[in-house]
């Protein structure tokens, strides 16, 4: 009966299924994008290969929000005076908003590679001349860049000298000296990546740095990863809750409208069922089951649509990452079913309350 009803009203069924699919897609893609980008940022920072992150007092875990306030010389002092430190790499961060939003690392290649190992060049080489920049493969693909290509960044024109494998902190790398010159922060760095000697206890070295530079922020990289979890990012949870609320609201309204109109269309059918002895519960369950089937179909379509949308996003914007986890698949399905239940609640009660005689007389 449920399937016969859905098939007999194909347009209504299709629109309802697509609306639920939109709800599921909206949840999965937006959550996948935000969590994907957050997780990928964390993965890239870990990919630097450091053990400890040294920042100025009151700095944010959100590196892009930090500014260059630390003297570069601190790095040398830490390396020479704190036992167990193998290498220290100063990094001056800049945020480029031309043609996107990108984090740019101003680095000293020697100390940076001493901390995390050498860059893996896929094409070209490290910057060596003024105005040269190194980009990672995802950025190069998204902007269709090759070595020798010119790009506008930070209100300047750069020439790409090389393309490296992604996962080394940022997607764009400049000489730290140039970065300092551009920002007027001579001999300053935003942060330092610290590598401890092999076999050294990272916590012991961290404590030693904290003693040496009192008031500075010293973080184990493994702790930083947990700090960068999507749930810890300021504003992300409320944002995701808002997205889910809007998506569920869309689902509820569509299911409500669909079921409400179907009750009106099927008044006579309900009268027939009541005359055959169908109880009010039977009618309520029938409407609920129908909306649940619509929602389940919507979930299936929504999951496929989400995968297609995610694939398209990654193809068109290679620097964007969409992470769709099993947890969120289940949550999206749950929200879709919830919207089906809420949306069909009133229509099902309305149907159950129909007087059989009046319903049978309905034309």
């Amino acid at each position: 009966m449920i399937f016969a009803s859905l098939i007999s009203r194909p347009v209504r069924t299709l629109v309802s299924v697509l609306a639920v699919a939109l709800e599921v897609t909206m949840i999965l893609v937006i959550v996948g994008l935000t969590t994907g980008i957050a997780k990928e940022s964390g993965r890239r920072i870990v990919g630097v290969g450091a053990d400890i992150l040294l920042q100025g007092p009151n700095s944010s875990y959100m590196l892009a929000l930090s500014s260059g306030t630390l003297p570069v010389a601190i790095g040398g002092k830490v390396k020479s005076d704190v036992p167990g430190v193998k290498a220290v790499a100063p990094v001056l961060l800049q945020t480029n908003s031309q043609g996107g939003l990108d984090l740019v690392y101003g680095i000293d290649p020697v100390s940076f590679e001493a901390v995390g190992g050498p860059f893996h060049f896929l094409d070209g080489q490290m910057f060596s001349k003024p105005g040269e920049i190194v980009v990672d493969d995802l950025y190069a693909r998204s902007k269709k860049l090759r070595p020798g290509a010119r790009i506008e960044l930070l209100s300047q024109t750069f020439t790409v000298s090389g393309i490296v494998e992604n996962g080394k902190g940022a997607r764009l790398f400049l000489p730290i000296g140039l970065a300092q010159e551009m920002t007027g922060a001579a001999n300053k760095a935003t942060l330092f990546y610290v590598k401890v000697d092999e076999g050294q206890d990272v916590d012991a070295v961290k404590t030693a740095i904290e003693k040496f530079l009192q008031g500075y922020k010293v973080t184990r990289m493994s702790d930083l990863m947990s700090q960068m979890a999507p749930s810890k990012i300021p504003g992300l949870e409320p944002f995701l809750r808002t997205v889910v609320f809007i998506a569920v609201a869309v689902g509820v309204l569509v299911i409500f409208l669909s079921m409400y109109t179907t009750i009106t269309e099927r008044t006579r059918e309900i009268g027939i069922l009541r005359s055959l002895g169908a109880s009010k519960t039977y009618i309520v369950v029938l409407i609920f089951e129908e909306s649940i089937v619509v929602c389940l179909l919507g979930v299936i379509v929504g999951v496929f649509a989400s995968k297609m949308v995610a694939g398209t996003i990654v193809k068109v914007f290679p620097t964007l990452i969409v992470t769709m986890t099993a947890e969120w698949y289940l949550k999206a399905a749950g929200f879709a079913l919830l919207s089906g239940i809420i949306g069909s609640f009133y229509p099902s009660l309305k149907a159950a309350k129909l007087d059989p005689i009046e319903a049978l007389a309905y034309e």
């Binding site: 007999s8 027939i272 002895g277």
Partner: protein
């Protein structure tokens, strides 16, 4: 006269509708007994209260006053849930406009009644259904939707749906009202066969005098009252009647 059992009885049955500020008395004290296995026709002009009576006998509505006893149980005192159960277990309806579910096939329409009733497959129910379909000559129509059936065929499917759960009483409201004379005759003969073969108690409500020829008993109504009964059930005739 041999003793019989009254399967249905009304006592001073009344129904008043409110239309705007006016009370309309559709039934003004109907007293009626229907014998088990009887095929009776309730006749009368439009507006005489036939359909209202049928709705009350079929537990579709509550009377304003009086009693409706089915197998001795007063359904006038029942709540909606209890009346629904009576409809499910004791009553079969056949309507003038067939009232088949257009989205289902003929088989689906019959199965829906079995699903609502919770009739298990087996236990002789399938054999009963097969016998019904043979009797109604619609075995080969089961895969068709109502829109692909003639009026007569639709009504026969509706009859099969109404009696598939072996209800105590089959109520038919103007069952031939939407049929041509040929199909009317077929359908009426089938009611006769159902009554004879399955001992099915049937009450036909009609304003068509020709229909009376197919029944055992003719009850005439006018202005909300029974004005003539061709074969009334006397007190002395009743063996077991719970009031």
């Amino acid at each position: 006269m041999s003793k019989c059992r009254a399967i249905l009885e009304t006592v001073d049955l009344r129904k008043t509708y409110r239309l705007g500020d006016v009370d309309v008395e559709a039934l003004r004290g109907v007293n009626l007994r229907i014998r088990e296995t009887e095929l009776a026709a309730i006749m009368g002009p439009s507006g005489c209260g036939k359909s209202t009576l049928m709705h009350l006998l079929g537990a579709m509505a509550k009377p304003t006053g009086g009693r409706v006893l089915i197998n001795g149980r007063d359904i006038a005192m029942m709540n909606d849930g209890q009346r629904t159960e009576v409809r499910r277990k004791q009553i079969g309806f056949v309507f003038q406009k067939f009232n088949l579910l257009p989205i289902l096939t003929a088989r689906g329409n019959i199965e829906v009644a079995r699903t609502i009733q919770g009739t298990a497959r087996g236990d002789g129910h399938d054999e009963h259904l097969a016998e019904l379909l043979r009797l109604l000559m619609i075995e080969d129509k089961m895969g068709r939707k109502p829109s692909k059936l003639s009026g007569g065929e639709q009504q026969r499917v509706a009859i099969a749906r109404a009696v598939v759960n072996r209800p105590a009483i089959l109520l038919a409201d103007e069952p031939t009202g939407a049929l041509d004379s040929k199909n009317s005759e077929i359908v009426l003969n089938m009611f006769r066969e159902l009554n004879r073969k399955f001992k099915q108690t049937i009450i036909l409500v009609t304003h068509n005098p020709e229909l009376a020829a197919y029944t055992d008993r003719l009850i005439e109504m006018r202005d909300g009252l029974v004005v003539h009964d061709s074969n009334p059930v006397g007190d002395e005739e009743i063996s077991t009647l719970v009031i």
